[in-house]
């Protein structure tokens, strides 16, 4: 690949990285490089400086904290989540999505947090984070702040991060009851971005939905938070008409563009089909447990 000329820095602490981002003109964080490097190859992105955060220790974690929240460090790779022994138990939605993000090669390098920072409307993790009500912890020269993902992404490929802020971790709030959910993605081939995909998270207690979230991928100019659809589920026992209504509301929340992957109507139809299917799968699994 032949990108434009750029300068490369490899700091070994977050503080050093923030200082570099503050002092250097037109600097970008380099995490897994699986979105940034392809864009530099095509010269769509021509940053003058790269600040590589891969040499900063202790950022590769993902863990469940005692308060029930779940934390994913800035250098946790997609593959770490795919192979995780604890993810399925705590965050079934993420466990369902992990093997569907990109392809095995990309997953060994690409990071969860980097994917959210990239804010690609076709990115899978941002939809999951929206469904889970998760946040990004950003650290800058004046300390840390926590930003809910639904506010973090401000448009296609743009976030509210300041030029000298680093997203250090992603946080998912504790479950209200038992957390279930799922991710369904229509892709033309392994490693393809979604034609359309749906993330559904359900916190259940005694068969009643205590909390719900729905995030949608690839069906609008940015990740879609189908909050009305999710609200329709809260308080219900996932009766057929409720699910049908939620699926319709989810489809209505989209604004897809027809292209070579499919027409806008088709993508909308896939969203409603997937939302119903995820919930049906959850119910089937519940029945097997009971």
């Amino acid at each position: 690949m032949y990108p434009s000329r750029f300068r490369y820095e490899a700091p070994t602490s977050i503080e050093e990285a923030i200082a570099l981002l503050s002092s250097l003109e037109d600097a970008k964080v380099l995490a897994g490089g699986q979105s940034l490097i392809p864009m530099m190859k095509l010269r769509f992105a021509n940053p003058a400086n790269l600040v590589d955060i891969n040499n900063i220790p202790d950022l590769g974690y993902h863990r469940a904290d005692s308060d029930g929240s779940f934390r994913i460090g800035a250098l946790c790779r997609h593959a770490d989540l795919e192979k995780s022994k604890i993810l399925g138990e705590h965050q079934p939605l993420l466990a369902a999505a992990a093997p569907l993000v990109a392809d095995p090669i990309v997953r060994t390098r690409g990071t969860f947090v980097g994917s959210v920072c990239h804010a690609d409307p076709q990115g899978d993790w941002a939809s999951c984070m929206v469904a889970l009500g998760g946040s990004i912890v950003a650290q800058g020269p004046s300390g840390k702040r926590t930003i809910p993902v639904k506010d973090f992404v401000s448009g296609p490929f743009t976030t509210v991060l300041a030029h000298n802020e680093i997203a250090v971790e992603a946080v998912i709030p504790p479950a209200q009851g038992t957390r279930t959910g799922g991710y369904l993605k229509l892709e033309r081939r392994v490693g393809d971005f979604a034609t359309a995909a749906a993330a559904v998270s359900l916190d259940m207690s005694d068969g009643v939905v205590k909390d719900a979230g729905i995030g949608l991928t690839g069906v609008g100019a940015q990740t879609i938070n189908a909050s009305e659809a999710a609200e329709a589920l809260i308080g219900s026992r996932l009766e057929d008409d409720v699910v049908e209504r939620a699926a319709e509301l989810a489809a209505a929340a989209t604004s897809p563009r027809g292209d070579h992957r499919g027409s806008a109507d088709y993508k909308r139809h896939i969203i409603s089909t997937f939302v119903s299917r995820i919930i049906a799968n959850v119910q089937r699994a519940e029945m097997q447990v009971a």
Binding site: R5, L186, V190, F193, G258, D259, G262, S263, Y266
Partner: protein
């Protein structure tokens, strides 16, 4: 004791590929691996627009970048009469645009710089002022009465038609259709697809002023044709040109034509007197070089009630892009598309073809297509299935009724070719048995209970390979024979060179096996070399599955010449007359006294140390092989699929392949060719196409949009074989390079159509993307897929 042929790596040995030794160690030698002292780097500026007039080009900012040596423009090329070059189809193609750009990705300028980074910086700094013109992305637009003229550079061109061509018996066919019990009709589009060699195109031109010799390292499947073409275009004498095609990272027909990049790098080297390297990137390859297909069909079959096909009518329109640059036998405008229906016994046929110019990149015959045979067989097998459905007849039975019978060979095909041999019904039966045809209806009913639709698709076809005999086959007048040269050294080791050029087919392995078969010299004692025009004998190169049928035959023939000479030497050594010498693999012996013999290696030593009086010393020879006919392998591919009607997603359940490619030289390599071909067939049926939006932007300019299936989704393939030797090929081989790519797509598409036929759907254009399948299910009608892409 006789030698075991398989042990020495002769015919039938699944010998490991010798070339893999260097490839898997990362020691291959590709064009980009070649580094010459003082070498400069070239990058091409491509047009962002599909159709536009060039108002001005400002290169000053590029020249201002340190390390930029030269910026080449169309004007500079024109000053040397090189702005346009002839194509291999008697048309012309722009090298660097002077007047207009005619497709997105067309070459506009080239920057030569100290390193490839600077060359790209230079390209970005060039400012071109374009006046956009209306783009044309399909034949309908091209043929509209008010369509803008794409080729206004050509003196007598008044519309966007490249040619009109017809073949067959028009009146006879009309008559048959008038009398038929029933006529089955089908309209479809075979979309544009693109070969995807891992290595894109590239060249290093090195002109040496002191010797006046031009050496070009180049990604070419046909280096000798390139030498001739360069000699004509650049006006350099042919003996002063050396084309070296080193290891090629795949070709698939993409590396047959002469591309502007090659020509520009040559001129740059002449002007700068330094080696100039051009390495195309993947996007450049996908948007500007030889593609495959993009042909529209209106097909009709005249049928008798009992299922007999009486006649074929095919009206086709082919989209060639901005220049007619196909590399194919000159006599046939649309390749061998009229090989359609060759495996069926049909008395009458007629085909028309209109070629059109559009604002798309030029080409049409690449991607394992055997000169448009891919389209022929796809059209054929889609028409056959539609006809069987229209008659309400079982698809296997319908084929059985119409397939050519074993005793009928040689058989004249509906369009006049002569097929050589085959056991078509047997292949079909092997396939039906393997897939469990009789049980399929039960499976279908079971699946229906789960809300899923099952379908089974068959594709049976014979295709013409090994172009070809010199009476009919030539490219720009050069006959399509091929050659081999064999030198046996005194220790019995040998070097073989041919005019073919392997791009992954494994010639270094299989050619040695043919020599081993003919001479009994172990395959491992034979080194094979191809691709250097200063050392290899003249040949037309490797494409269209022609190397085993033509160059492979030449390898046999040259080995036999060597054997004939060795026999004389043997007679001399054994002190008997020629007529008393018998041959068994690897050894001559005296008739009636099998113990008295000499090995081929002993004869080789004698050729350099003890030849009979009057005999020329040495043991080497060459052979030019002009095939008497084409070879005709047969294949039966059967696929079963399951469709999710709520999403339109379809999964392949099983694929059975029965190939009869005649005698198999290396069964492992044959199977590799079949599996690779079926993978491509699946890709085209399922996901792969190059399309365009209404502005003429290429959708499919990178591998996120142009999809290659991975190991994850590629189905498993169950391979079976039937062997009917080719009667006229020296070792009975027919060729296998493209059968599965050619015959495979229809099996998948027919399977999906079989699943949907009950709801009234007769055709969905490839690729059968989920949204198209879903739309067909929703509307109960056909779905067309021709460009432009609809944005709705």
């Amino acid at each position: 004791m006789a030698i075991d042929e398989v042990k020495i790596g002769g015919l039938g040995a699944s010998r490991r590929r010798v070339e893999d030794n260097r490839f898997i160690r990362g020691k291959g030698n590709y064009v980009d691996d070649v580094v010459l002292p003082g070498m400069l780097h070239m990058e091409i500026l491509r047009s962002p627009l599909a159709h536009a007039r060039i108002k001005s080009i400002d290169t000053s900012a590029a020249y201002a970048i340190p390390g930029v040596r030269m910026v080449m423009t169309g004007e500079m090329m024109a000053a040397r009469n090189l702005a346009w070059m002839p194509t291999l189809s008697y048309d012309t193609q722009a090298v660097l645009a002077t007047d207009k750009v005619r497709f997105q990705g067309q070459e506009v300028c080239a920057v030569i710089a100290d390193d490839p980074y600077i060359a790209r910086d230079g390209v970005e700094a060039i400012v071109v002022d374009y006046e956009p013109l209306a783009p044309i992305v399909n034949p309908e637009q091209a043929l509209a009465p008010d369509a803008p003229l794409i080729r206004d550079d050509k003196v007598n061109q008044t519309n966007n038609v490249v040619f009109d061509w017809e073949v067959g018996d028009r009146e006879g066919t009309d008559r048959v259709f008038a009398e038929a019990d029933m006529v089955s009709e089908l309209e479809l589009h075979y979309p544009r697809s693109h070969p995807s060699p891992i290595e894109a195109c590239g060249s290093i031109a090195d002109y040496d002023r002191a010797t006046s010799k031009l050496t070009v390292y180049m990604t070419s499947q046909a280096p000798h044709i390139v030498r001739a073409a360069v000699s004509m275009v650049a006006e350099i004498p042919e003996h002063m040109i050396r084309i070296i095609s080193p290891d090629l990272g795949g070709g698939f027909g993409n590396k047959v034509p002469v591309y502007p990049g090659y020509v520009i790098s040559i001129l740059a080297s002449i002007l700068l007197e330094r080696p100039v390297k051009w390495i195309e990137d993947k996007t450049g390859n996908l948007i500007s070089t030889g593609f495959g297909r993009d042909v529209y069909l209106k097909g009709k079959l005249a049928l008798r009630k009992d299922g007999k096909i009486l006649g074929v009518r095919m009206d086709t329109v082919s989209d060639h892009g901005a220049f007619f640059a196909d590399a194919q036998p000159s006599k046939f405008k649309i390749g061998l598309i009229h090989s359609a229906f060759a495996c069926y016994d049909i008395p009458t046929a007629y085909l028309t073809n209109r070629g059109v110019y559009t604002n798309k990149s030029p080409g049409g015959v690449a991607y394992r297509c055997s000169f448009r045979v891919t389209e022929a067989m796809f059209f054929q097998e889609r028409m056959v299935q539609a006809a069987a459905d229209d008659l309400g007849m079982d698809q296997a039975e319908f084929r059985r009724i119409n397939l050519v019978k074993d005793d009928d060979f040689p058989k004249r095909t509906p369009f006049g070719f002569l097929t050589d041999s085959g056991q078509y019904e047997k292949c079909l039966q092997v396939g039906l048995d393997a897939i469990g045809y009789d049980d399929f209806q039960n499976q279908k009913a079971e699946a229906a209970k789960r809300g899923r639709l099952l379908g089974l698709g068959i594709s049976t076809m014979t295709e013409p390979l090994g172009a070809g005999n010199s009476r009919e086959y030539d490219i720009l007048g050069i006959k399509m024979f091929d050659s081999a040269e064999l030198r046996v050294h005194m220790t019995g080791k040998a070097i073989l060179r041919t005019g073919a050029k392997s791009q992954g087919q494994g010639h270094e392995t299989t050619w040695a096996q043919i020599v081993a078969h003919e001479l009994g010299i172990p395959a491992e004692d034979i080194v094979v070399e191809e691709g250097d025009t200063d050392t290899a004998p003249f040949g037309m190169g490797t494409y269209a599955s022609r190397s085993t049928p033509v160059a492979g035959a030449a390898v046999s023939m040259v080995s036999r010449k060597i054997r004939a000479k060795a026999r004389k030497i043997a007679a001399h050594l054994l002190e008997v007359s020629d007529e008393d010498i018998e041959w068994e693999l690897g050894r001559f012996y005296v008739r009636g006294a099998p113990d008295r013999g000499v090995s081929i290696q002993e004869c080789a030593m004698a050729a350099y140390s003890n030849v009979p009086d009057g005999m020329e010393p040495g043991l080497e020879n060459n052979a030019y092989y002009d095939p008497p006919n084409l070879t005709w392998p047969f294949a039966c591919y059967i696929a079963t699929v399951e469709i999710d009607p709520l999403t339109g997603v379809w999964d392949v359940i099983r694929v059975v392949a029965v190939d009869d490619c005649g005698v198999r030289i290396n069964p492992m390599i044959v199977e590799g060719q079949i599996m690779g071909g079926l993978t491509e067939a699946y890709a085209m049926a399922n996901m792969q196409f190059i399309t365009f939006d209404e502005d003429g932007n290429c959708v499919g300019s990178n591998y996120m949009d142009y999809l290659l299936p991975t190991a994850w989704e590629t189905p498993g393939f169950e391979l079976h074989e039937v062997v009917t030797p080719c009667p006229h090929h020296p070792i009975g081989a027919k060729g296998i390079g493209e059968c599965a790519t050619v015959g495979g797509p229809a099996a998948f598409v027919n399977a999906v159509m079989d699943a949907l036929k009950d709801i009234g759907v007769r055709n969905i254009d490839m690729p059968l993307l989920p949204d198209r399948v879903y739309e067909a299910i929703q509307t109960g009608s056909d779905v067309s897929g021709h460009p432009p892409v609809k944005n709705r």
